[in-house]
């Protein structure tokens, strides 16, 4: 039994939603990196990543968000992270990622923040 990783994309107006599922490690992180890279190339910089179905993340996964966050914020956008399971949030928290990233409970909060800022 392998540990897979899947991405689903959707958008509402100028906000993009990326749902990630499974295991995000040094092997699968490149899939997420390509997805965000495509959005940024198209000038789509308001991104909500939904972690509801993500079971695991390693530093390679955390690194994907570091690759793009500066460019995205310089472009007037943000990457907001929502619905992290406690075991996944723990990895972000271990390294202090909540200092830099907006980590929220629900997609609606992220949507509201994008719409009001």
């Amino acid at each position: 039994m392998s540990q897979n990783f899947e991405i689903n994309r959707a958008n509402k107006g100028n906000i993009d939603f990326i749902k990630i599922k499974g295991y995000l490690d040094a092997h699968t992180a490149q899939v997420l990196e390509r997805t965000i890279e495509e959005l940024v190339k198209d000038g789509r910089v308001k991104i909500v990543v939904n972690f509801r179905d993500l079971e695991y993340i390693s530093s390679a996964g955390l690194g994907v968000f570091m690759v793009f966050i500066e460019e995205i914020r310089n472009g007037g956008g943000d990457i907001k992270l929502v619905e992290l399971k406690p075991k996944v949030f723990t990895v972000f928290d271990l390294l202090g990622f909540p200092m830099l990233f907006d980590i929220l409970q629900h997609e609606e909060e992220a949507l509201h923040k994008f719409q009001t800022n």
Binding site: S2, Q3, Y23, D25, A26, H27, Y56, S58, S59, A60, L62, G63, M66, V67, I69, E70, K87, T90, V91, L94, L95, G96, F97, M99, L100
Partner: protein, 147 residues
């Protein structure tokens, strides 16, 4: 003084990132069997994943002649994971731990794997291949939970 060593298991995999999940499942089972709770088990799994991912990157992927051998044992009151590889020697302990405030302020990237390992494990020892029969060895230790 004699040391009691109980071997829990050994796993060999090619030094490639697409088999990291196998290493995680193996280490997870070993740590859970040794009495660690879910959070501590997850930390140990993460630390081993980070080390193996580093080795796979330095082995130049898709070179199946390079392998990683993960051995898990209990020595005295410690859970011990030894990760051996026949890729080019690379001492992850040479990577300095970043100051995370500066790291985020300057939007840096990379170098977090070994920082995680240092954070969650009690002790790390690296022995390059020259002094260890053709295989580099990295040994991670964590005190067993008190029963």
């Amino acid at each position: 003084m004699s040391q009691h060593k109980y071997i829990i298991g050994t796993l060999s995999v090619p030094a490639m990132t697409d088999v990291l999940w196998e290493v995680r499942e193996f280490v997870s089972n070993c740590a859970a069997k040794s009495g660690f709770d879910e959070q501590q088990t997850n930390y140990i799994v993460l630390a081993v994943d980070e080390i193996c991912a580093n080795i796979a990157r330095h082995a130049k992927e898709k070179n199946a002649s390079k392998e990683i051998i993960v051995s898990v044992s209990v020595e005295e009151s410690q859970f011990v994971v030894t990760i051996e590889d026949n890729a080019l020697p690379f001492n992850p302990l040479d990577v300095p731990s970043p100051n995370m405030v500066d790291y985020f302020r300057t939007f840096r990237n990379g170098g977090l794997g070994i920082h995680i390992v240092r954070t969650v494990m009690d002790n790390i020892l690296y022995t390059p291949s020259a002094s260890h029969s053709g295989y580099n060895a990295l040994t991670l230790r964590k005190r067993l939970p008190v029963a």
